[in-house]
């Protein structure tokens, strides 16, 4: 009998084909309070991280943008303003609960015409080759089972010279900051999760999944291997978060 292949789900080992399901449960559980929790957990700083990502995207009028794992639509909303009526923004997420929250929120904010939603898996993107001028994935790559497969799929659907931006939790550069951050995320975070969403486990997964995610240099190497050029990263908030960028040759 052959052993089933496993992968990490936070610090837990799970069978590869079970990870997506487990991640889905986390996001079904937190979808309704996702934005509130982001604000509380990051002290509002996640808005700055996202604003910086938009600035670096160089998205302009007429562009086609794919916002993968776009969840509740923070980036998509900003992109929709930038691409204008000639452009198109696709908000994609594998999770129906997150996508519904995102779509309703965008409708409330009066976005229409150039923004559309699709439920899709980052590893198997349902778009033709050479479609998008820019792809963003913010706080999403961490949850993807096979990151190399996802990077290859993103490269495929980008146009030549198109740009990929990955915003994700990363490894703090300073050991002191790392220690404080550990205390915060393994004690305070699950407690906040319990108080606000009555779901400490989901937020414990969040903290653990961040530690399991490849560090800055490793992720850059994975982008190089996938075939991206001009790859680089910028640390934000001392490396708690990093923005990785790469271009399709």
């Amino acid at each position: 009998m052959s052993e089933k292949k496993t992968t990490h789900f936070g610090f837990e080992q799970v069978e590869v084909d079970k990870k997506a399901e487990r991640v889905a449960d986390v996001f079904h559980s937190v979808a309704g309070k996702y934005d509130l929790m982001n604000d509380l957990m990051s002290g509002g700083v996640h808005r700055l991280w996202k604003r910086y990502t938009i600035e670096k995207s160089a998205v302009r009028t007429g562009h086609k943008v794919l916002d993968i794992a776009g969840g509740t639509g923070d980036l998509s909303y900003q992109f929709a303003q930038k691409v204008g009526p000639e452009g198109l923004v696709v908000l994609a997420d594998i999770n129906a609960s997150m996508l519904n929250v995102g779509r309703d929120r965008l409708t409330d904010r009066g976005v229409a015409g150039n923004l559309t939603c699709a439920q899709a898996d980052a590893q198997y993107l349902p778009f033709p080759d050479n479609t998008f001028d820019c792809i963003t994935i913010a706080f999403g790559l961490r949850n993807v089972t096979d990151k190399d497969l996802a990077l290859a799929a993103m490269l495929r659907v980008l146009k030549p010279s198109g740009r990929l931006l990955i915003l994700e939790f990363s490894k703090p550069a300073n050991p002191l900051l790392e220690k404080a951050y550990d205390t915060y995320s393994f004690s305070l975070l699950p407690l906040m999760g319990k108080l606000i969403t009555n779901d400490a486990d989901s937020y414990r997964y969040l903290a653990e999944s961040i530690r399991m995610h490849p560090d800055q240099k490793t992720l850059q190497g994975m982008m190089d291997n996938a075939g991206f050029v001009m790859t680089e990263f910028q640390n934000m908030t001392g490396g708690i978060v990093a923005l990785h960028m790469g271009v399709k040759p």
Binding site: T116, Q119, L125, P128
Partner: protein, 65 residues
């Protein structure tokens, strides 16, 4: 109902083939992979795990259309 702009850039995630929107069933059909993707609340669900496998009858009917 599905957004026309979106439909124009969607392909089957399995075959990367073209999709045929079937308004009566509100599904996106890929004849080459034999899968039908549901559209829920106007959002196309482009996941193989959520797709319906087309019956032999449906495939035959399409061939002779």
């Amino acid at each position: 109902m599905i957004d026309k702009k979106l439909l124009s850039i969607l392909v089957c995630p399995v075959s990367k083939g073209e999709l045929d929107y079937q308004a009566d069933k509100n599904e996106l059909v890929c004849w080459s992979s034999g899968l039908a993707y549901p559209v829920r609340d106007g959002i196309p669900v482009m996941l193989e795990s959520e797709a319906r496998a087309l019956s032999e009858d449906e495939k035959q009917q399409h061939k002779h259309r």
